[in-house]
């Protein structure tokens, strides 16, 4: 972990998931890995798309990419959201990633402006849905903002998605029902906001 004040250290369950994942990968027979160039090429393209997705997400959410997708990432929520966006909004999602890739060289505010207001309602609405899922862990079907009322219908993506919600960190707090902190912390000023959303040193 990058920081002793990090609000979300690995839980035992997450370690289990991590080690199980490693074991599963090791169990794949060698003749099935690397034998087929087409799947590999697909995987490479997919990894590039995933990286684009993380960079796009960082731009929109204001949370550092290294925080959204840390080097050690047992929960791997980025993949969950990436797969979900593709499943729910395939063509628009592809379009959104393309727009982002095509405009990579521009200043961040310009890219955001292009995505959120200049590429049509479908792209802008999906971008806002992705911001919401990163912040709240819930999927709000893309639609025009004025249709949202106090409690628009949404679906919690998964328990992990709820506990990974960034709004809690932005509030310098923790998800309700998921405190990694110790007795009495609530009487003390929390660590500064930057500790929650900007990567710390890796020492």
């Amino acid at each position: 972990m990058d920081d002793k004040n990090h609000p979300n250290p690995l839980t035992r369950r997450q370690f289990l998931v991590l080690s199980l994942g490693a074991a599963a990968a090791a169990a794949v027979p060698a003749h099935l890995t690397g034998a087929a160039p087409t799947p590999m090429a697909k995987a490479a393209a997919s990894a590039a798309e995933l990286e684009s997705f993380v960079q796009l997400s960082a731009l929109l959410t204001g949370i550092a990419a290294e925080k959204l997708a840390p080097a050690v990432d047992p929960v791997n929520i980025k993949q969950v959201y990436f797969d979900l966006a593709r499943k729910e909004s395939g063509d628009t999602f592809q379009q959104l990633l393309s727009i982002f890739d095509q405009n990579q060289g521009k200043p961040p505010d310009e890219i955001a402006e292009i995505i959120l207001t200049q590429s049509g309602a479908a792209v802008g609405n999906l971008a806002r849905t992705l911001m919401l899922v990163w912040y709240l862990g819930s999927w709000y079907a893309p639609r025009d903002p004025p249709q949202y009322s106090n409690f628009p219908s949404s679906t919690v993506v998964s328990p992990d998605a709820y506990t990974q919600g960034w709004v809690w960190r932005v509030a310098q707090a923790h998800p309700m029902g998921f405190s990694p902190l110790i007795f009495g912390y609530w009487g003390q000023t929390p660590p500064p906001l930057s500790d929650f959303i900007v990567p710390g040193d890796q020492s």
Binding site: T61, G62, L132, L136, A171, A173, W186
Partner: protein
């Protein structure tokens, strides 16, 4: 053949659990019937259900599930042990029997919910464990409220049982903090654990309001740490609170007490059995002696499946511990032998005087220079108790003030609502007045700046006892077992409403002392929980404090049970839980439910000796 039991208890909530444990320890054979699910080996399923719930309401972790596969509320007609939810009190649902388990006749919705599951409604309690005040027990004499019933007991009589209840639950509090408005403790008494530290929200309010007059009570305000059934040290093999800010609906580490602790202690005596998914359907009596002879039951295996069993149980003593709505439901439907209903011949009071603590909710934003960092710590760690008693009680309802640590989660569903506002450029929260749609650092900063300054106050108003607020049986609507559902008639009296008027003024005073800006929303025209008082429209919320309907008293013509919670009509029948409270008083009911249950257990033990 059925085992022979000394005592059959209906309901595995805190009252039933406490009695079962005490009787089990004394070697008595006890059977508890629980209408809902039994004790799971751990709370993992509850937690998963909570995490996955879009509406993280008090009932969300528990069974039966609130929603069906289509995302609509489950139809109570199709469930064997349905229960109310706060989701059933909105304008579109509260009077729809396909959505609302309770058949609500109004004019206002009864807005509190309960659980039908082993552990009972305390599965989702907050943990607040205040003692009632000496004056709470005799409002008639203290404040000339001639229509109000006295309790048949005094604070001094109940005091030793409070002490035992505090040990059984495991309360964290300081005696010095709790010695106010006539409360006394035995010399040298200490709570089992030290008090819970105040939050930054509490400290800010304390600094601004301590010593000030916030309302028409003559007592200067004082913010004190709230006695809580929440561990400040390891206790009963349970962990110390980690401030999950989730006491309601569920503490993920069980640092907060829930009755599964006591149920397990009871089962471990080897003398107590618990039958889940077993609904008591009828109480039978011997018409000559008036004693209860049997309780009939129906059983099922799945929440909406067919009835799978039925039978009848005999015992020496029967205890109904199904709280203030399901208990009268059982008594009133057991009326084939007695037209008035069981335990109702002498007084006719069964089902009457339903009460709650209707809540006035006020929320505000601290100045930018004074963030209070909510969404941290237990949901509430402190309150203002100084307004619970005073001469004003002759004219208006008293209240206690609960300080919330969960920002605007209760009032507006935050942090979600504010997040949606700033991402979509709308203003449901009131915080995004320019309707800016933000992204990146601006979004982070706007959310941070607003969320770290939020707080709310909940005023728990003492509802006056009224015979016109009552539970009866629906003529028309049943559950899946064919049992008539509770029909509720409910309103707030002028006395109670005047408590809201005072609460609103107190909230404004507190906000002004803090330099905080109120965001308490105007009440929508069609809100089901809206009412008028003093020319102002108010909205109330339920506190989950379901009280009254089989009141205790000293006169068999005016009360259902005596001071020992024994039915006046049936000497081997005890009715326990908050249904016995003649008045709802000014504090959360659980500690008093527990104290009275322990007292009843002692009486039953003597009966069986």
């Amino acid at each position: 053949m059925n085992k022979v039991y000394d005592v059959v208890i209906v309901g595995a909530g805190v009252a039933g659990a406490m009695i079962a444990k005490q009787l089990g320890l004394a070697g008595k054979k006890v059977l508890i019937l629980e209408s809902g699910a039994g004790l799971p080996p751990n709370i993992n399923d509850f937690m998963q259900r909570f995490f996955n719930a879009s509406a993280k309401v008090p009932e969300s972790p528990y069974t039966p599930a609130l929603f069906n596969d289509q995302g609509a509320l489950n139809d109570p007609t199709q469930l064997n042990a349905p229960r109310p939810s706060v989701l059933m009190t909105g304008k579109g649902s509260w009077q729809d029997p396909k959505q609302s388990y309770l058949i609500q006749k109004g004019p206002l919705p009864f807005s509190s919910s309960y659980e039908r599951v082993a552990g009972g409604t305390m599965r989702h309690w907050l943990g607040t464990s205040l003692r009632f005040l000496p004056n709470d027990f005799h409002m008639k004499e203290a404040y000339g409220l001639d229509d109000w019933p006295n309790w048949p007991i005094t604070y001094d009589e109940l005091e030793p049982w409070y002490g035992q209840a505090e040990t059984e639950i495991g309360i964290s509090a300081d005696v010095e903090d709790q010695t106010y408005l006539g409360l006394t403790f035995p010399d040298g008494y200490n709570y089992p654990m030290p008090s819970i530290p105040l939050s930054m929200v509490d400290e800010a309010i304390r600094a601004a309001v301590d010593g000030q007059l916030i309302d028409d009570s003559s007592n200067p305000a004082k913010v004190t740490s709230t006695p809580a059934g929440r561990n400040s040290r390891p206790y009963q093999d349970r962990r110390v609170c980690a401030g999950n800010t989730n006491c309601i609906p569920i503490c993920p580490i069980q640092a907060k007490y829930d009755p599964s602790i006591t149920l397990n202690h009871a089962l471990n005596t080897g003398n107590v059995d618990l039958w889940p998914q077993t609904v008591a359907t009828e109480v039978l009596i011997d018409s000559e002696t008036g004693r209860v002879t049997e309780i009939k039951y129906a059983q099922y295996e799945t929440v909406d499946g067919p009835q799978t069993g039925a039978g009848s149980l005999t015992a020496k003593v029967f205890v109904i511990a199904a709280h203030a709505i399901e208990t009268p439901k059982l008594l009133l439907r057991s009326n084939k032998q007695i037209s008035e209903g069981i335990a109702n011949r002498s007084s006719g009071q069964v089902g009457l005087n339903l009460m709650d603590h209707p809540i006035y909710l006020a929320w505000a934003l601290m100045p930018e220079s004074k963030p209070v960092y909510p969404y941290r710590g237990p949901l509430s760690t402190a309150g203002i108790e100084s307004s619970r008693d005073g001469a004003f009680r002759s004219k208006r309802a008293a209240y206690r003030v609960e300080i919330g640590n969960e920002g605007w989660n209760f009032p507006i569903g935050d942090p979600d609502t504010t997040t949606i506002d700033f991402i979509n450029g709308i203003n449901s929260s009131g915080l995004n007045t320019d309707k800016k749609a933000l992204y990146g650092k601006d979004l982070v900063n706007a959310l941070n700046s607003n969320l770290i300054r939020q707080f709310r106050l909940g005023f728990l108003v003492e509802q006056s006892p009224e015979a016109s607020n009552f539970v009866t049986l629906s003529e028309k609507y049943t559950d899946h077992l064919g049992l008539q559902r509770p029909e509720i008639h409910y309103n707030l009296s002028e006395y109670t409403r005047q408590g809201f008027v005072a609460a609103q003024q107190a909230a404004e005073k507190i906000f002004s002392l803090l330099g905080a800006k109120s965001f308490t929303a105007a009440v929508a025209a069609d809100d089901s929980k809206a009412f008028e008082a003093g020319g102002t429209r108010f909205k109330f919320f339920g506190a989950g404090h379901i009280v009254g309907t089989y009141r205790m008293g000293s006169d068999p013509a005016k009360s259902v049970v005596d001071k020992f919670q024994r039915s006046w009509d049936h000497k081997n029948l005890f009715l326990v839980g908050s249904g016995v409270f003649p008045t709802v008083t000014t504090a959360n009911p659980t500690l008093t439910i527990t104290a009275l249950a322990l007292w009843a257990a002692d009486t039953i033990k003597k009966d069986l000796a």
